[in-house]
């Protein structure tokens, strides 16, 4: 078996195990740490796929930024679980339904994509990259990501940034209001 394939399966397993850990753990900090494990495993998957840039950004943003903030919040708020509180909540049924629906959607997309990929044959990515980026810049994948992001996908990128900006402003407003209330 190919070394990179073996690595892929190993870290995919770690990622899934981490994800399971997130829901199973009762202590929020432990859940957060399992989520971190998942992020790191996914970063390794990116490396296996030769997407070093995405891997580094994955670690930098998710593991180094977002999870640190998560931990900060969890530690400050200091969630306490009441003794004897039920492990599964009332929404268990709904959650199951939504979960199955999500699984169906994701599964459908993956299967459909796999068929399409198989049609286009695996030669596509490199060729496509050269097609989009133009010859000569394929050397580093950070350039490739940059070209793709700011040429091919500029509009979605801008929409995403506006969405994030709105979310940020909303968070500031909400945060300010709670602080005033607290005073």
């Amino acid at each position: 078996m190919d070394v990179s394939l073996a690595l892929f399966w190993a870290f995919a397993a770690v990622a899934v195990a981490g994800a399971v850990g997130v829901i199973v753990m009762r202590q929020p900090v432990h859940s957060a740490l399992f989520l971190l494990l998942t992020f790191l495993a996914v970063a390794v998957l990116f490396v296996v796929a030769h997407a070093e840039f995405v891997a580094a950004v994955q670690v930098l943003v998710y593991a180094g930024g977002i999870m640190v903030l998560f931990l900060y919040t969890i530690m400050l708020v200091n969630v306490r679980r009441q003794a004897g509180e039920p492990y599964l909540h009332r929404q268990a049924g709904v959650a199951l339904g939504v979960g199955l629906l999500l699984l169906a959607v994701v599964g459908g997309v993956v299967l459909g994509d796999a068929r399409r990929l198989a049609d286009a044959h695996a030669a596509a990515p490199a060729a496509r990259l050269t097609e989009v980026v133009g010859s000569g810049v394929a050397a580093g994948n950070s350039q490739a990501v940059g070209w793709l992001l700011y040429r091919e996908y500029l509009l979605p990128f801008e929409i995403a940034s506006v969405l994030l900006l709105v979310a940020m402003i909303g968070a500031v407003v909400l945060g300010k209001r709670t602080m005033e209330k607290f005073d």
Binding site: L76, V77, N78, T178, K181, F182
Partner: protein, 577 residues
Amino acid sequence: MSTTTPSPTLAFAPLLERKFGEKAAPEARPAADVPTIAVDASALHDVALFLRDDPSARFDLFLDLAAVDRLKLAGPASYRAGERFAANYLLYSTERNEHLRVRTTAPAADPKLPTLTDVWWGANWFEREAWDLMGITFEGHPNLKRLLTHNGFVGHALRKDYEAGQRWLCTEEDVLQTDLAAQTETPEDVFETLTLNFGPSHPSTHGTLRVVMRCDGETIVAAESECGYLHRCFEKMSETHTYQQVIPYTDRLNYCSPMINGSGYARAVESMLGVEIPERARAVRTVLAEFSRLMDHMVCLGANLVDIGALTNFWYAFQAREEIYSLLEACCGARLTSSYARIGGLSNDVPENFVEWCRRLVKLCHNQIREVDGLITKNRIAQKRFRDTGVVTKEQALAWGFTGPCLRASGVAYDVRKDAPYDWYDRVDFDVPIATEGDNFARYLVRMEEMRQSLRIVEQVVAKLPNGPVNSDDYRVVLPPKEMVYNEMEGLIYHFKVVFEGIPVPAGEIYSYTEGANGELGYHIVSDGTGRPYRVKVRPPCFPLFASFEKIIRGGMVSDAVATLGTLNIIAGELDR
């Protein structure tokens, strides 16, 4: 003892008489003591309001509450019954530079007095102390709990019928469980707050102080401070020792500047005796008191700067302190607890090279102050940490009973050395630095400048240091020289009497005050005519400072509390006594 005269300075006396009649009357007092009015307990609260607010009185600063148990004091039978407890309130008017004692009495059975915390907030802890040690209940006091002793303590230690040999166990249940700690589990609407137990052994309490804080994140929303971990009841111990033997105890009050405590105490007893000490002794006391003040400020600033992370200044400051200790060691053989002052002078003369030594030290100290100044005063980070943190306004400082550098940093130019000069302070030229902001930076600057002024005083005194003896030749007070003891009958008798019976201080009472490094250091001494003090009450300058600490730090952050604790300079030794 000097002549007894009715105090001439009471400008408000006629008005007082008109308003309160018999219930508040000026008392005849020796000139060395502060003017006194005797007030009936029923009128105490109204008199207090009058004294604070009336334009002819304006006693805006509450200094001390010295409670005395007169059970064993020679006097009328009422001392055993209806007037057993005397409560002496010491007040000061910054406007008119005048001290005043308000004396009231409480009966032996269930002694009760109205609280004055609503008149001067600074009375708060003084009343708690009087309740704790003397058992006087203050009606209406917001928080009348044990302060210096623990909750497992039974009885009131300073009462004359309290057996000093008893022991009381402090169990875990008796440890002060503050209301703050009890509220921890209350859920807040949005965030939970955290109860932080700060001390008694925390790196920045520099001693044994305890503050319980409730923090929202790191912002302090409520706090309560507690002291007494170093309480040894020095005042009770003094009652079983002769006047001279009390001096080593005074070293342990503010152990950063023991010379000031010792000479302050000696001066109090000397004024009761009416003994004049030689000029040389006065000059040396002035020099060493100023060096002590300098050491105290050095320790305060050095430790304070360590607390905000500027470690190196500590060594710069402490080098000067070590060198001053060497001078003290050359004078009296001890570095930390000098016990150098004696009633009637000093234990022995200073070394021959005293003057040159002092000059060398002045140079060194200037240099060390310059180092610290260069590193901190204009440092942006230090300014950010100090400015606008731990702010005490002028009104607050007065209401809370601040004195010394902390009061001056809030804009009140009260310095005992200027306003009631003693020793050589009226013969030297020096400035009293004040600041108006009242924040940590103001206190830092005031202390820095005070150190320079201390050096100025030292230079001037040293230049005029007179020759001659350092002890009074009154052998009822001072031990006679050895050749006299061995060769003359009188000498032997004097020696015997001073050592065995102590100095016979005439019966009476005095409140004598000096400018300690932290503020007004007052000794309230009651004598019954024997060789041992009947009651010694110390006004420790940092007692009101620490009492208000919980108010100052509210709304700030934990780091500000640390910086503020440092600039207030709380010394557990004098706080807890």
